[in-house]
Structures are given as structure tokens and as C-alpha cells.
Amino acid sequence: MIPDQPSRRPRLNPEKVHVAAVVALWTTAGVTLAVLAAIIVFILVHGLPMLTPEFLLAQPESMGRAGGIFPTIVGTLALTAVALAIATPLGVGTAIYLNEYSRGGRAAAAIRFGVDCLAGVPSIIFGLFGFIFFVIYLKMGWSVLSGGLTLAVMVLPTIMRTAEEALRAVPASYRQVSFATGATTWQTVTRVVLPVALPGTVTGIVLSIGRCVGETAAVIFTAGTALRLPLSIFSPTRTMAVHFYILAREGLSMPHAYGTAAVLVITILLVNTIANAIMLRFRAGVT
């Protein structure tokens, strides 16, 4: 027998709790979306009037007060490309090594710890490091290469950790089948594990593209602020984000600053959309 216990407080009506929860959760989701939409709309409203072919394709004039932003678009793309060309193989390779080859010893734990620490470092510190190490010590100067290397170090933890999570989410049974059928570890990784882990891995890369495109602090110290068109990876350059920062900070031209910001936002949206489309097509092939 369970003795009757006097209830201390009146029991809430489950129906009402349910309704309250739905309202509360809808509100949180709505606010999140609204904030995002507000930012994008604000930037586009101010920036879109500037967006003409001339703005995209012309050289800036008088420090960016007039003319276009072509060199900064090229600089942004070049820096991002260099950074990802270095960070992707390193990060994905490390993730594959840790998850598929190493048997989880102390070295693996040390690598993970190091990478996690790296992920928490503010980007200005990467900028300072890049300035001292790449720009001065390795005598690369302010250049696409210095900036790209610095960004590579900065996004390496993101790429490595997301790739590792993606690899870890691949069912162990796939590996077991592959090994049991006579595949080597390399064949198992390339033919079975990586294709399954690709969407997650690409997510990390896309996030990293976003961070590279939007980064200022790490770049301003390492790639410089030159407004000339960079002609090689040894040329200094200015990215869109840095350009926006300088235009706004020095009060050179707010319309041009918003125009640059609009191009930045659209670039990031485009990258995300394209990556999503590729992933959907890829997934449609296997399920």
C-alpha cells in the first residue's frame, strides 16, 4: 500500500504545460530567426543600392571613398583559398589519423587537447602570432601567404574537430564489414568511412570559409591593408572585412562600407547554399 500523500502544491495541467512549452519554444526560434533576418535585411537595405557591376569590378579611388572594391574581393578569395588549401588537408588528415589509425593513446589525447586550446584563442592573438612568426621571422612580409597561413592556423581546430565528429558518427559496422571483406585501413577510410563522413566534414570547411571571409583582426596584421590588386601570394592585400572596417572606422564612406558588407554577406550566403546543394545531391545518391 502506498499511503496517500498530501500534495504540497497543485499539479499543473499537462495540457496547459504543453501549450506553454510550444509557445515558449516557438518564441525562442522566432527571436533567433528575427535577429538573423534583421541583420541581413539591415545590411542589404543599406548596401544593395551600391551594388553595381562597377562597384564590384572597379579599382577603389581616394582610399575607397569612391570607385569599386575589386581588389578586396580578390584579396578575400585569395586569402580564404590559401587558408583552406592548407588547413583542410591538415585538419582532415589529423582527424583521420586520430579516429581511424591511432588506438587512442596519450599522443592522441595530447593532440586533441592542443587543438581544443587552439580553438579558444581569440583571433587577435593569431594575428599577433602571424605577424611575429610569418611576417617578421620568416620574412614573408605582409602578404596573401602570411595572412593565409595565419587563417589556416586559426581555422584548423574547427576543421579538425568537425571532421573528427563526422568520422566518429560513422557506424562501426561499416568499418567491420569493410575489414571483414578484406579491405585495408586505407581502403576502408577512402571507400567507406570518408564518403559517409563527407557532409559533416564539409560543414566544418564551410564554417571555416565563413570565418576566413569575415575575419579582420588576424588579417590586418598579416596580410596588410594595401588597396592594390594582389598579383601573387607574396603581395600584400586588403580583405573585404578589413576594407569595411577601415571605411567605417576612418569615416571615409559609409555607403561604400555598407556596399562592401553586403557583398560579404552575400558571399557567405552563396557559399553556404552551394555547399548545401552539393551535400543534398551527394546524399541522394546513397540513401
Binding site: V177, S178, A180, T181, G182, Q187, V196, V286, T287
Partner: protein, 259 residues
């Protein structure tokens, strides 16, 4: 014992005094067993009896488990499969294994079947297609999938997926096929199809069928081994073991008093 001695030279796979450990846990205790060519050997017994550990030791899948270690020998055609000169990938092609849950890889039906051939370096399109048809026919799946070989294997039903797993193991043309509870999640009709396929296959392969299911062992095997807590209790012709078990523990299990 006389029977075993007489067939000594024909023995396909011989397990000698095998003990298997995972860390401090002993999964198999000094087990000796022979598998003869073109027979279906059934291995039955309750859970954690060492059945799967035995198969994974024979296929060397346990190599990847750091805490694993074993004593004793496993001989394939008289050669120690754990000899340092043995190419483990080559060995796994000779001894195929099918797992208890259907495990289609996230690829097309065709790519699933030819996976073992591809990793072995077979590129010839004609060979791949011929082996695919043969393997799917052997697994009694061909008629159901012949028109959609390029569709994802994950769209097949559970029973079809398990027959696909069998076809994948067969396409690599192993000498021995080991099946670990291949029907555990399947309906009676799928189970029947798989048992039927095995019966037709033993002309060309040597088959080891692990099953907790006593009825399946009695229906589908030539000889049977009863494993209990890592120990081989008895092993002999299936009909003999089921009608006249030598050990009282075997009798208890077969009659459903435990397990």
C-alpha cells in the same frame, strides 16, 4: 575421435586448444574444433558462449581490439592464420563473414556486391558483372533486384539486405563462409530463403553457421557444435546430437530448459 582421425587430411579449418581473452575476461576456453570441406557446421549455444569471439578470431577481426589476446592455433588448410607472414587482408578474402545485423554499405546494390572484388583490385567490368549476378543468384536475391542494381542498397528490406550481405561475402569467392546469426532479425520467409541458399552453396563452399536458434541448427546443418560459457560441450553430426546428446547440458539446451 576415430571419425576425426580418418578425415584428418581433408580438414579445411582446424582450431587447436584456442583460448580467447579480452583483457581479464576469458571468452573461449581451450577449444578444439574441425571444419571439413563442403559441410555446414552449426555452432549453437546461449549468449556469451563465445560463438562470435570464435568467428572473429578465425576472421582476425579481433586484431583491431587492443585488449584482445589468444592462445592456441587456428589452421586453414594446415597453415597457421596468425603466422607473421600471413597477409590478413588476403586471409579475410579466403574466409568470408556475414554479421548478425544486415549491414549494407551506403552504396548501390551493385557496389555492395563487388566491394570485396574492388578492394582486391578487380577492375574488369565483365568480371564484376558476372560475379555480381552469380553471387546474387546464390543468395537468392537476383530476381528481386536485377532491374535496380544501381539503386541504394539501404532501400532494400531487412531480409533483402541480409541476403545482400551474404552475396557480398560470396562475390569475393571465399573458401569458407561464416555466418553469425544471419537470421536473428528476420521473418520466417527470409529465414527460409537464407537456409535454402546455404544448402545449395555447400557444394562450392565450406560453411559455418552460428545460430542461437536450435531449430535452425537442426534444420540447416550437417554437424553441430554446442558452446557454453566459452567451452565446447560437444560436437558431432547434427542428427546424432539432436537425437542422442552425449552431455546432459546439451540435452537441457536443446530441449529449451535454458538459453
Amino acid at each position: 575421435m576415430e571419425l576425426h582421425d580418418r578425415r584428418e587430411e581433408k580438414c579445411k579449418l582446424r582450431v587447436e586448444n584456442l583460448s580467447v581473452f579480452y583483457g581479464a575476461v576469458q571468452a573461449i576456453k581451450s577449444l578444439s574444433l574441425r571444419v571439413y570441406p563442403n559441410e555446414i557446421l552449426g555452432i549453437t549455444g546461449p549468449s556469451s558462449g563465445g560463438k562470435t569471439s570464435l568467428l572473429h578470431t578465425i576472421n582476425r577481426l579481433n586484431d583491431r581490439i587492443p585488449t584482445y589476446r589468444h592462445e592456441g592455433r587456428v589452421l586453414l588448410d594446415g597453415d597457421d592464420i596468425y603466422h607473421p607472414d600471413v597477409d590478413v587482408n588476403q586471409l579475410r578474402r579466403r574466409i568470408g563473414i556475414v554479421f548478425d545485423l544486415p549491414t549494407p554499405l551506403p552504396k548501390t546494390i551493385f557496389e555492395n556486391v563487388v566491394f570485396g572484388l574492388r578492394v582486391a583490385g578487380v577492375r574488369n567490368r565483365t568480371v564484376l558483372q558476372e560475379r555480381t549476378e552469380q553471387a546474387l543468384r546464390d543468395a537468392i536475391l537476383w530476381d528481386e533486384v536485377k532491374d535496380r542494381l544501381n539503386q541504394p542498397a539501404l532501400r532494400l528490406s531487412g531480409g533483402q539486405q541480409q541476403r545482400l550481405s551474404i552475396a557480398r561475402a560470396l562475390a569475393a569467392q571465399p573458401e569458407i563462409v561464416m555466418l553469425d546469426e544471419p537470421c536473428s532479425g528476420l521473418d520466417p520467409i527470409s529465414t527460409l530463403k537464407i537456409e535454402q541458399a546455404l544448402w545449395d552453396l555447400k557444394e562450392r563452399y565450406t560453411i559455418v553457421l552460428v545460430s542461437q536458434n536450435v531449430q535452425q541448427t537442426s534444420r540447416a546443418t550437417d554437424r553441430a557444435a554446442f558452446l557454453l560459457m566459452g567451452e565446447l560441450v560437444e560436437c558431432g553430426p547434427t542428427a546424432e546430437m539432436f537425437t542422442n546428446p552425449r552431455d546432459s547440458r546439451t540435452a537441457d539446451f536443446l530441449e529449451g530448459r535454458f538459453g
